[in-house]
Symmetry: C2
Subunit: 339 residues, 2 copies
């Protein structure tokens, strides 16, 4: 029932190779022949069989994004969605198929992906400082790019956020408003222990910022839930009543902090300012709208996919490494320090 190259060739009175040339827009086809074949394709409603193309050519024209959900709180869902659609749109633009893998990636799964010719390349997330997947893919010479970075990135392509810079921006903004005592809720301890980039780099940036701006800044490593952030904030304020500003790294943390502040009769931002670091664009869904150091997760997804496709096509000169600088977005949760 389905129409094949064979059918088209027969009806058009040419060889299948010629039809193939037309379909793939190769040069060296007489204009007249081209027209004739094109018309036959139209009449018959011919559509190339993707799987056959893939087997014969050895290329799948597809990329896969491994988006681990083992730890669902790891990325804000909203940010995740924007990222995924960024990847999807970039892939579509380059005429690549896009597959999504969730769940944890075992070494067996990775072997299947590479050797089974499921895709031409892979996007990796949740990169740890030392990452076995990176070594594996490198050895197998399978094209991949990272959203994140390792300790040693020689020869690797990645795009990552400049967490250090983000923290600098947050503290620069708050100190410029006169805040000297700033509470900080950061990523959970396990993240840091696992060597996950956001936790590691954010803490480094935090230390550098505290030093540079010479502020008092007690902090808590905190799960990304409203509840945990609520209690962490209460604990911080109890021990450090002079705090006039808070920095958080997740929207749930911001909500928990605001809730705690309100209960303590501290108005935001009059009595206490609050800044979200790398919370995506969710800040405007918080009341009051959250001043944030933010970036476009969609844009990053788009870029990482394009980077991978360049790598697959080998049109990139060498490894590409991009560090995105998030920017301060002023909303209504920050104000000059009281007094």
């Amino acid at each position: 029932m389905p129409i094949t190259l064979q059918d088209v060739a027969q009806k058009a009175g040419v060889s299948i190779k010629t039809v193939s040339r037309v379909v793939n827009e190769e040069k060296n086809v007489a204009e007249e022949t081209r027209h004739q074949v094109l018309q036959t394709i139209q009449e018959l409603g011919y559509v190339p069989h993707v799987q056959a193309q893939r087997l014969a050519s050895g290329k799948t024209r597809s990329i896969v994004l491994h988006f681990p959900l083992s730890d669902p709180g790891l990325f804000s869902n909203l940010i995740g969605m924007d990222f995924i659609t960024g990847v999807a749109l970039a892939a579509a633009k380059e005429d690549y198929y896009f597959s999504l893998m969730t769940g944890s990636l075992t070494s067996g799964g990775l072997i299947k992906l590479c050797r089974g010719a499921q895709a031409d390349g892979l996007i990796l997330m949740q990169i740890t400082v030392q990452d076995w997947r990176v070594e594996f893919l490198r050895e197998n010479k399978f094209p991949f790019v990272m959203h994140g970075r390792c300790a040693n990135n020689d020869g690797l392509s990645f795009i990552d956020l400049d967490f250090e810079h983000a923290m600098m921006e947050a503290y620069a903004h708050l100190t410029s408003l006169g805040h000297q005592h700033i509470g900080f809720l950061t990523y959970p301890e396990e993240w840091r222990v696992k060597g996950l980039g956001p936790a590691v780099h954010t803490l480094q940036g935090f230390r550098a910022a505290v030093k540079k701006f010479n502020v008092t800044s007690p902090y808590r490593e905190c799960q990304q839930t409203v509840e945990r952030a609520y209690w962490a904030t209460r604990s911080l304020l109890k021990e450090n009543p002079r705090i006039t500003a808070m920095v958080t790294v997740h929207n749930t943390q911001a909500v928990g902090a605001i809730t705690a502040l309100q209960e303590l009769n501290r108005k935001v931002p009059e009595d206490c300012s609050i800044v979200g670091v790398l919370v995506g664009n969710e800040g405007e869904l918080i009341i009051p709208p959250l001043t944030s150091i933010e970036y476009s997760s969609h844009e990053i997804g788009h870029q990482v996919a394009e980077m991978l496709i360049r790598k697959i096509k080998e049109t990139s000169p060498g490894p590409e490494q991009i560090l995105v600088r998030p920017e301060l977005k002023l909303r209504r949760s920050t104000a000059p320090a009281p007094r």
Copy 2:
């Protein structure tokens, strides 16, 4: 370089058909032979070539979800993410690959998808009352299921939300608290005009609820942004000062409404209650936490994928039609009517 069936067969001293049998766990292989082959596979690190399997068998073992982003506000991103991960996990569980298509689906795109053998089945979203895609797929006998439903669903498989029931629940809850004047922000006018399910069914449910509970309930069709909801709420309250409760159908609307109420010095929930209808589980990220009629978008994604796979395998007896009843989740944004 890559290991093929041929290589395994040769080394194990059997035919490739036998190796194929072992790989596919078919019956009728001598236990001894099986062992021998399995060991050789292990030694050689053989992994089946997915594209070859697909071409030869005529099955791709993959499904595609068409998630249109042409109208990015159409679904809340958070809900979308949960839905997608639900689909992804269900597909993985059944050992199916999962591809995501975004962007608008042209008739050409749909033809390619079906005839090009890209996937074994398709999940459709944003179903309109009359949907050309449904007709097309039906005629081409391509397996698909819908997240949503048409006007006439004879012979079709779908899973959808019971919007009518959701509205009933919202009004039942508010009237039980003594509210008689209830403002309502619903989906934008264009949605209704296009015949999109949520808009159409919600409005039907709204009318039924107003009648049943005999309340005054002015409403506005409203874009899903904080800003629009803010102004719509102000307009509603200006014209109807007796309103003591609001119903919204999106988290941005809830945020806009709360902001407007606060500016008018109406405390939530003491002076004005607010209920979110079908806002996913985002209600807890709002201050105060939003009482909602909600459901698990993840669960729906999971179910719709399973439904499709049953359809592909033809293990389902006939068309399956599921209407999910969302449930009231009490949080802190509703209270008895003032006085």
